[in-house]
Amino acid sequence: MSLTLEQVRRVAHLARIEISDVEAGHTLDRLNEIFSLIEEMQAVDTQGIEPMAHAQDLAQRLREDCPLESGRLAMRDVFQAIAPETEAGLYLVPKVIE
């Protein structure tokens, strides 16, 4: 199979990566090369094989429900010192439209 330019644009939009028309064409070629490598997987019969999501077959460990005393202004100041734009303790972004 091979991808279409429109699929590349849609995927780029889903991933929120702005892509120009020139880039989209170039990316399409590269992705098609990569997918030709990936395609060899498709011939394998994997019926009845349980997908493997983790390297170890273990159960999730649980944390006791104890709040840590981390919720303080000093911590916020540290975090927001590296933020692109903040005001009144809030992170600012272009207006969100519902």
Binding site: A15, R16, T27, R30, I34, I38, I49, E50, H54
Partner: protein
């Protein structure tokens, strides 16, 4: 001093032959004079490192030093270190001063090691040549127009050029073992879950594992002893009793120290695809192991040929999601101009990420998207299980699996940079190990045309101590690892 093992350095520090401040300064000076050629470090901070060295000296003076106290260690720039720039090789994080320490960083600090600097790497650990770094490519100390391998290329170049005694790396598909092979180093990727991932910037969460990059197996054991251990902040960290990874190395051994060891040779590692000059040295290493008392047995990894395909689906899928947090809202790069929210996202990410990272995000987004999930993502996970099953079967017949680490020696800068598929295939021998979650090593086994060749050793789950011993015995008898590149001494 720069040829000494970590053990010997610890002794020199304990006996006051040298202080930690002096040792740290020695390496800072070497970095200042040699790193401009290599570009192995993204950041060094002499003040901060020397302050840590002074604390180590105080600890040593009280006789409270451990095996790593006062020893400068280079850290891959993928580990968050408080108040250090932690860029992950990306423009996206080129302004990210971490507010916290990764568990690996914390454990080294607790052991009294000095953080010597943050090493260069492929952007977000995506690459096999260190050419995708926002901070520019790293050069191989053995031949400056060649790549050091990746993604832990900065760490590998720094250790090889003696710009640090040892370093850390991370390995998602071979990123410790392949640069170790290309730089004449010993590198270990532990069993998945042995080293905490807390504070290690995620590429592919189910595959990423941190490990040591050093000159010898003994040094790797010392580093792993500091790095490994249960961490309640990482749900995938294994809650196992602590162990001394140097214990097998320390055990007394006779003339045939590996008598009884069964080495599995998968025919998939010995077919075409591997350069003959590399294969010759692998064959020689097998002969070397027989002399140490080991026997060999043919094993089969029939699904290994699918590992690159499965890997690029799984790793890209996880990466596409892991890298969604880099959105220009709370930290990191934000594009200077945008008209609305979507443009802010789209431009910040388009400008903040490099080409290879964007390609993998797009591949990952695609394979998870509606209508393709089953055919790609689930299929890749099923193949992952087949591959893990292959190893389980093989380990019924052998104790370690042996083969080449990389099909070639270090290639030239730019040679594969524009051909992602060729680049991906350079990890053909290492990727299956990550899919299965097994421990794997690369150790030096000779030189082809003056460039190092690496031998890969793969163990069953949790057999790091044995694997290190198997590496150590070979190194003891065949000290290829003692060779250093010229021009850095």
């Amino acid at each position: 001093m720069i040829e000494r093992s970590l053990h010997e350095l610890a002794r020199a520090l304990a006996s006051k032959e040298i202080s930690s401040v002096e040792l740290t300064q020695l390496y800072l000076d070497r970095i200042a004079s040699h790193d401009p050629q290599l570009n192995a470090y993204i950041s060094v901070d002499p003040e901060r490192s020397l302050a840590q060295a002074r604390q180590a000296d105080a600890r040593l003076a009280k006789g409270e030093g451990g095996p790593l106290t006062g020893i400068p260690i280079a850290q891959k720039d993928i580990f968050c270190a408080k108040d250090w720039l932690t860029s992950c090789g990306s423009k996206m994080l080129s302004n990210f001063i971490s507010p916290y320490d990764a568990t690996v960083i914390r454990r080294f600090a607790e052991a009294g090691a000095v953080l010597l600097g943050k090493t260069n790497m492929d952007e977000f650990a995506m690459g096999s040549s260190n050419e995708t770094s926002f901070y520019g490519p790293v050069r191989n100390p053995w031949r400056l127009d060649c790549v050091p391998g990746g993604s832990s290329g900065g760490s590998a170049a720094a250790v090889a050029a003696r710009l640090c005694p040892a370093a850390t790396g991370t390995d998602t598909g071979g990123s410790i073992r392949q640069p170790a092979a290309l730089c004449n180093l010993t590198g270990l990727k532990p069993t998945y879950g042995v080293v905490s991932r807390w504070g290690m910037i995620a590429f592919a969460s189910s595959l990423d594992q941190a490990g040591p990059l050093a000159r010898s197996a003994t040094d790797c054991a010392a580093l792993l002893n500091a790095m490994a251990g249960f961490d309640e902040r990482d749900s995938t960290s294994l809650d196992r009793p602590g162990e001394d990874y140097a214990r097998d190395i320390a055990a007394p051994a006779g003339a045939k120290p590996l008598a009884g060891l069964r080495i599995g040779l998968p025919k998939e590692f010995f077919g075409e695809g591997c350069r003959p000059e590399v294969m010759r040295l692998i064959d020689a290493a097998i002969a070397g192991y027989r002399e140490l008392g080991a026997t060999t047995v043919a094993v089969d990894l029939p699904n290994m040929k699918l590992s690159v395909a499965a890997y690029y689906v799984i790793a890209s899928a996880e990466a596409s999601s892991n890298l969604a947090r880099f959105d220009g809202v709370r930290y990191g790069y934000r594009a200077p101009e945008y008209r609305d929210l979507n443009e802010m996202y789209g431009r910040s990410r388009a400008q903040g990420f490099g080409a290879e990272v964007k390609r993998r995000i797009l591949v990952g987004t695609y394979v998870l998207s509606h209508g393709y999930y089953d055919a790609y993502y689930l299929q890749a996970q099923r193949i992952r299980r087949l591959i893990a099953g292959d190893f389980a079967e093989a380990f019924r017949h052998c104790d370690v699996i042996l083969g080449p680490t990389s099909p070639t020696t270090a290639f030239r800068l730019g040679e594969k940079a524009s051909d992602p598929v060729q680049m991906y295939l350079s990890d053909i021998y290492t990727i299956a190990v990550n899919l299965a979650g097994l421990p794997g090593m690369s150790i030096p086994c000779g030189f082809a045309d003056g460039l190092p060749v690496g031998l890969q050793l793969i163990g069953d789950y949790f057999t790091e101590a044995r694997l290190l011993n198997v590496a150590h015995r070979y190194q003891h008898a065949n000290p290829w690892h003692r060779q250093a590149p010229t021009g850095f001494v």
